[in-house]
Symmetry: C2
Subunit: 357 residues, 2 copies
């Protein structure tokens, strides 16, 4: 099957491979690619022999899954690929092996939903330089010759876009709490959350926790705190003094939410912030001063399927004139699968001849 | 009935009134008081004439609810009270009227689950000085002569206790995302969350949103951002440079969670932080370095019914030695009804002769 798949590819069309093609993010990538250009040749791969002969469906496109030995991938199987997406956690050894087996001109894109790429960047990766790229940011240009691109986790994509929009206002410190949905893990984790919820409503006492690691239904689970200053500086060029984030997984299916506190060099007013966000492509500004008790500042459910990052500026209550403070709070939302998942990965990976928006 | 209720009270026992006695927090207050001292005379009140003749149940104690005209409360009805708890949002006019109608020696305790007291502190409150108090903090002493005490919202109680524990390490900046459960609103809001969840699982399309203001099931709703430096300084005496928080309501029944970033004057190590938290009464330290993917750093469900504030120190991943950084992340949990709701309110309100722990 793999030979036939490769043979189908016309020499002048772009051929794209997707590992874990039947995963939640793998499917989204395939659908997004097909929507952009139905003439793209999209091939679905899997590292799991059990997937042999299964179908990977990308909306109206479908392909038989080709099984790849991830430790020793067969260069013949990967011949003809221009672009290879890896939307699952893999080891540094697998990244190296894939890079070796792919054609020299191919671009390998690691799509990192949960931050595993930070742990890859150890010495064992040898000479492979992982280049994190957010579409639309200046550094995207310098990545054209890179071998391995990383589409960063949703939290970094969102913060990089916001900081880029606000760069003229000189942001200095960032403290972000990231509220992750369970779909950053897998489609099965989404099912487990549903199963947990049913178990609680039925008082059945049988609650599956294999994938979520604990009760996630009607609950919050802390994940990790991370220094992000170096990554955000690299992505945006903004000279941050400090930046860090704590990730918490919420009982939400899709949509990542960031509660971000940014301290600026000088006090900044609502108008300047709103104006900077409003003109930035890729960001959508919610009206400030919204009666947010009603949820009108936006929520994870409301951004499902959206293709921009939604930002609202929280009016600061309390003593003093909170609307001209150095420290401002933002509520940032994005669909982790479409906006900051597949959209970013596809945008940084596809050759410029393909219009992505 | 109210006369009989008042007549029951022995002259040397403490008599306590609870407004909104059948509300979720009113019940918790009554149960807590009864548990501390079954000889306390506890009287349940309501501002709603429809509650006339209803029973307020506080565990094994019960009382007929006495109806109070909140705009013009009858001093005779409130005669004999030593302590009066108000666990619902009321206007400044109602606070003044209650203060006037209560015996001069009585203490009025506003129990503020959601931050409404901050909005009361306007000029219309006249000479009434609202004194926010957290049990066990130094300022509690100076509040002994105060007429109106405020038991602050869970987020402030938690942060004040944590800052007090860390004061020797000189905390300077605080940025907190508060994840509130729906029980800060009402028992009916908890029911509405259940109803929303059932509607989603049944694909019924009928989703009640009257109390929650939007889809809260499998979703997060932003509430507000607030300056907190003045309040935290007043509660703890710690000279913070800046402090602010953003409140987000999560689809959680009980238990408030804080994702808190504190910047210290100097870099601080894990050991110093852990030691300071460990010795502080009222705080419970979770082991650091926990594999938090498994939720072992604690979660809102796990602290249900607990009587201390649980704190875990998030190990900081990423470039640099995150274990000796000036900025550290904390994950702080408390039962919003017991620990930082009823426990704090009862502790600041009861005369010292009653042992509260």
């Amino acid at each position: 099957m793999s030979d036939e798949g490769a043979a189908d590819v016309g020499s002048d069309s772009t051929t794209v491979g997707i590992l874990a093609a039947s995963s939640i993010l793998g499917k989204e990538l395939g659908e997004r690619l097909f929507a952009i250009d139905p003439s793209l040749a999209i091939r679905g791969f899997s590292g799991d022999p059990a997937d042999e002969g299964e179908l990977a469906e990308f909306g109206r496109a479908a392909t038989l899954i080709e099984v790849l030995d991830l430790q020793r991938p067969d260069p013949e199987l990967l011949a003809g690929l221009d672009l290879f997406f890896v939307p699952v956690a893999v080891s540094a050894a697998v990244v190296s092996a894939l890079r070796e087996a792919l054609p020299p001109t191919a671009v390998l894109v690691l799509v990192d939903a949960v931050g595993w790429s930070a742990e890859l960047a150890g010495p064992e990766l040898g000479d492979l330089d992982l280049v994190p790229v957010v579409a639309g940011l200046p550094l995207a240009e310098s990545s054209e010759s890179a071998q391995v691109l990383v589409s960063p986790p949703a939290s970094l994509v969102c913060q990089a876009l916001l900081l880029d929009a606000l760069r003229e206002l000189v942001p200095r410190r960032v403290a972000t709490t990231v509220l992750e949905p369970v779909s950053v893990l897998s489609a099965e984790a989404v099912e487990e959350l549903l199963g947990q919820t049913r178990a609680i409503l039925a008082f059945s006492g049988e609650m599956p926790t294999d994938l979520l690691g604990g009760q996630q239904a009607f609950n919050l689970l802390p994940v990790a705190a991370t220094e992000t200053a170096a990554a955000l500086r690299r992505l945006t060029g903004v000279e941050l003094e400090t930046a860090s984030q704590q990730v918490v997984r919420a009982g939400v299916f899709h949509g990542v939410a960031l509660s971000t506190c940014i301290e600026f060099e000088q006090p900044v007013g609502d108008e300047a912030l709103a104006a900077a966000i409003e003109v930035r492509p890729g960001l959508h500004l919610h009206p400030t001063g919204a009666t947010s008790r009603k949820g009108s500042a936006g929520d994870p459910v409301a951004v499902a399927g959206e293709h921009s990052v939604h930002v609202s500026l929280a009016p600061l209550r309390g003593p003093g004139d909170g609307s001209r403070s150095r420290r401002r709070w933002f509520w940032v939302l994005a669909d982790n699968l479409t906006t900051v998942g597949a959209w970013n990965a596809v945008s940084i990976g596809l050759p410029p001849t393909h219009e992505v928006n």
